[in-house]
Amino acid sequence: MTDRFNLYHYASPATFYPLAGRLIPWFAALAAIFGLIGLYIGMLVAPTDFQQGEGYRIIFIHVPASWMSMFIYLVMAFWAAIGLAFNTRLSGMMARALAPTGALMAFLSLWTGALWGKPMWGTWWVWDARLTSELILLFLYIGYMALVAAIDDPRRGDKAGGLLLLVGVVNVPIIYFSVKWWNTLHQGSSVNLAKSSMAEVMLWAMLLVALSFWMYSIAVAFARVRTLILERERNADWVKAELAGDRP
């Protein structure tokens, strides 16, 4: 019972707003630190690949961006489900706040992938299952943002957008397993928990960059959520006080 109460307590925009404000600098700092170390290892420490030369180093952006693009979508779908089931105010805002970062990550994944494809496969783009489904993911992000922007009533927008997120969630496993289900040009999964086929340094670099992206996503999402909260609750007393600068 108290657990439940706590959950609702933090799900209230009025409590979440200052909390997010306090956490943002920490996440931002972590993002910078992990990113710098990861890129340092990736770019300078990791050995040159005997097959691919230096070009392979794009992997340190490509793989973390691809992971994040899928993960952020899952998180948004999670918030959408919570919002539709319990009608909580914060969930819709969380989903909205995450969307641009997700789209950015999907775009990064496609872009770095395409850059890499030119030397590796001799072409920027092929219509294979993984690449296509990742492109669909980008379109889903864009479609979500367009849909919620087109609906003026924020609550209705949240609900409609949430539904779209849930419908699109089938795409994520397709991206992930596409290399297994269809034989594609794209490389199969080489990182898994039990054993890794990658050199250990490379793995570390990639994980660090991934962590950095993760922290970055949280920081920006919190920042966006704060503006969304202010916008939506602009008539609530606590927001008026906040804007007037009464609050410590």
Partner: protein, 222 residues
Amino acid sequence: MHNIVFAVIARDLRLALRRPADIASAVFFFVIVVSLFPLGIGPEVDLLRKLAPGVLWVAALLATMLSLPRLFADDHRDGTLEQLALAPHPLGLVVTGKVIAHWLISGLPLALIAPVLGIQFDLTADALLVLTGAILLGTPALSGIGAIGAALTLGLRGGGVLLSLLVLPLYIPVLIFGAGAVDATVSGLGGEGHLSLLAAMTIAAIGFAPWASAAALKIALE
């Protein structure tokens, strides 16, 4: 229980027959788009034969999509949708009826005319058969997925374009496997694998889409 599905189908078909130009125009649109490509691309037969599956499928997609905005909009505008939502049965069944009617009006005629167009692209009898089968199997999925998009964008001005933005990406798998089936047949690999994937997508879409659409409709009606 299933009476309502049939009632909706009967009503929608009657409305469609009241303006037969509608059905005819979807088919004409399909025909015109398919014929536009040779115009923009040039007359080389080999090239055309290569393009055929892709062009036919893209045209089928667009023809379906063009009729989507009106799937719920008419009922919404004149208040019928409200009444349907207030009827004492699950809204999902109503939507199932509407999706089936939509397919009968827009998907089925496309499948019937597609082989005729395929002949002009110099496709073999085998390929034509697979083409027809693929369109028959794939278009119900297009109607189902389209219903979700139509419901989500209902009542939004400029919904038509937003709708295509939402729906087209979801149509891509149908396009890939639909065109893939024909391609595979042409190159002698056999299209069965693609066809069974299409069938799976259609079954999933028909089973699931009406309920997602119904949820979206309720949001639109608030």
